[in-house]
């Protein structure tokens, strides 16, 4: 008895005829017909192509696209207070914040200070979402835009105004279970 004996659990594998000979020819012919049938059946199905620029795949709400900065809806003041926590949390080091003091004449944010400069270099950003997590005021969130290609690297540095603006055409959303 051989050291490896599978016992009665052995299953006979049904083998196709060997290539060559009558069986092989029959099999090749039959398989050809089966293939023709398959492709013909596909002819009647709708193509699964998504016509991209006109037709977009909806993203999930949790999708991490391009960042957005937010304002308070009632007062219109910026939520960002220029604390630079997002810049500290950023593993790719792509956020640059320069803070400035709010004055009674020039009140930009709700807090003491505001971000005079807020730049995200999207060429470096890895879309990890740590900035969103680090922000104590929910001033920065990950949006849903993913169409960010551009002709120049310098055009990929998004300024505060660009991040505050509403995106031009919004990406379609889908529900979580969809």
């Amino acid at each position: 008895m051989s050291p490896y004996d599978p016992g009665p659990d052995v299953v006979e594998v049904i083998r196709a005829p060997e290539p060559g000979g009558a069986g092989g020819a029959y099999r090749a012919f039959g398989e050809t017909l089966r293939g023709l049938k398959t492709t013909f059946a596909k002819l009647r199905e709708k193509p699964s192509t998504i016509q991209y620029p006109e037709e977009k795949v909806p993203v999930y709400p949790r999708f991490r696209g391009r960042h957005r900065l937010h304002r308070f809806e009632d007062t219109g003041l910026e939520k960002c207070v220029g604390c630079s926590l997002c810049a500290a949390a950023c593993p790719a080091d792509c956020i640059r914040v320069v803070a400035a003091e709010n004055t009674p004449d020039n009140r930009v944010s709700a807090g003491e200070r505001y971000a005079a400069v807020y730049e995200i270099n999207l060429a470096r950003c890895i879309f990890c979402g740590y900035c969103e997590v680090a922000c104590p005021f929910d001033a920065i969130t990950m949006g849903h835009d993913y169409e960010m290609s551009d002709y120049n690297r310098s055009d990929l540095i998004f300024t505060k105004e660009m991040l505050l603006a509403e995106p031009l055409d919004r990406t379609p959303l889908r529900a979580e279970g969809e």
């Binding site: 020819a25 050809t32 293939g35 023709l36 398959t38 492709t39 013909f40 596909k42 002819l43 199905e45 193509p47 699964s48 192509t49 016509q51």
Partner: protein, 348 residues
């Protein structure tokens, strides 16, 4: 002079020279106008079979795509390798496309009709050696590939050309032998007479084996998938036409599609009853070309269908299929037909 004409062509009626020129022009125009339709049909059908749309940007449903591509190819820079032999390099695509169109001349699109104050046959010319004419031009067409590969001055093109040559030669034998059965049954080489022999029953029924062999060999002859080893776009970068670009490459591609049309038309003529409809339906003569074109499109569809289905054969599989399967089949078919023809002749 009349004897000479009778020897060249069995015409029992007179066609004036301008009718013949007109016919030649019409055949040329029709052949070249079918091509874009076939190309767009192939790409759309292949797309749908692979569950995508195919071209759909240029014109309605992408129908003008071939036109846009012709423009693209025509304005390309005309370059050639420094090692190329210039005259032959230019001649090769011309040979390919001329032979491809020439075969169209004898394919009958219909019976004779009474127009222009006389009888006019709906074909270029009814040569009494029709089949030989087709195979002669098929043999010359292969010089197009050989010259193209050799004159490019590139070893890869040359290897591709050698591969094509081997394939074309092996399959031309089977293709010719597959037709022998038809020729013996019909007892003539003229294509119109062969069509007229199929009034009662199309030759696809008694010559089914011949039909299959002819079709498979036709796939190989026209370098279509699954026998597109001479090109093998994905693996061997187009073989003999690697070094070609722009309009010269288009000429090669056009020749390939024209060959596909020719083989389809020959299959229609030899096996599917040409312009005849089954079940004794006898439409007026002007319907004949439409019937032929309809049957042609059926074959074109089949060519495309097979291309979307079957993977490319390996080189040794190609050779063993040609020599070990198709050639014996065709030979046995020809022998069996010969015996049956003799027996039937003796009994009647």
């Amino acid at each position: 002079m009349n004897d000479l004409l009778a020897m060249l062509a069995d015409v029992t009626y007179y066609e004036s020279w301008w009718v013949q020129i007109l016919k030649a022009l019409i055949i040329f125009a029709v052949a070249l106008q079918i091509l874009p339709a076939v190309i767009i049909m192939e790409r759309k059908l292949m797309g749908r079979m692979q569950m995508r749309y195919g071209p759909n940007r240029v014109g309605p449903f992408g129908a003008l795509q071939p036109l846009a591509e012709i423009v693209k190819f025509a304005v390309k820079q005309d370059s050639r390798p420094r090692t190329a032999i210039e005259t032959l390099y230019i001649l090769a695509p011309a040979v390919s496309i001329i032979t491809a169109i020439s075969a169209f001349a004898i394919v009958p699109f219909g019976d004779t009709v009474d127009i222009f104050g006389g009888q006019v046959g709906l074909y270029g010319i009814d040569v009494s050696i029709g089949v030989l004419y087709v195979f002669a031009f098929g043999a010359i067409a292969f010089y197009g590939l050989m010259l193209g590969g050799w004159a490019s001055g590139s070893k890869y093109s040359f290897l591709g050309a050698m591969r094509s040559a081997a394939q074309l030669i092996s399959y031309e034998v089977s293709q010719g032998l597959a037709l022998v059965g038809v020729l013996m049954t019909a007892g003539t080489l003229s294509l119109t007479e062969i069509v007229d022999h199929q009034v009662g029953m199309w030759f696809i029924v008694p010559q089914f084996v011949g039909f299959i062999v002819f079709l498979v060999a036709g796939f190989a002859e026209t370098n279509r998938a699954p026998f597109d080893l001479p090109e093998a776009d994905a693996e061997l970068v187009q073989g003999y036409m690697t070094e070609y670009g722009g309009t010269k490459m288009v000429a090669f591609l056009f020749a390939e599609y024209l060959n596909m049309l020719t083989v389809s038309l020959l299959a229609v003529t030899f096996f599917l009853g040409g312009w005849h409809l089954p079940f004794g339906i006898d439409p007026p003569t002007w319907v004949d070309p439409i019937v032929v074109l309809g049957k042609l499109y059926f074959f074109v569809f089949f060519f495309i269908w097979v291309r979307a289905t079957l993977p490319r054969l390996r080189y040794d599989q190609l050779m063993s299929l040609g020599w070990k399967v198709l050639l014996p089949l065709a030979t046995v078919n020809a022998l069996a037909t010969a015996i049956i023809v003799v027996v039937v002749d003796n009994n009647s």
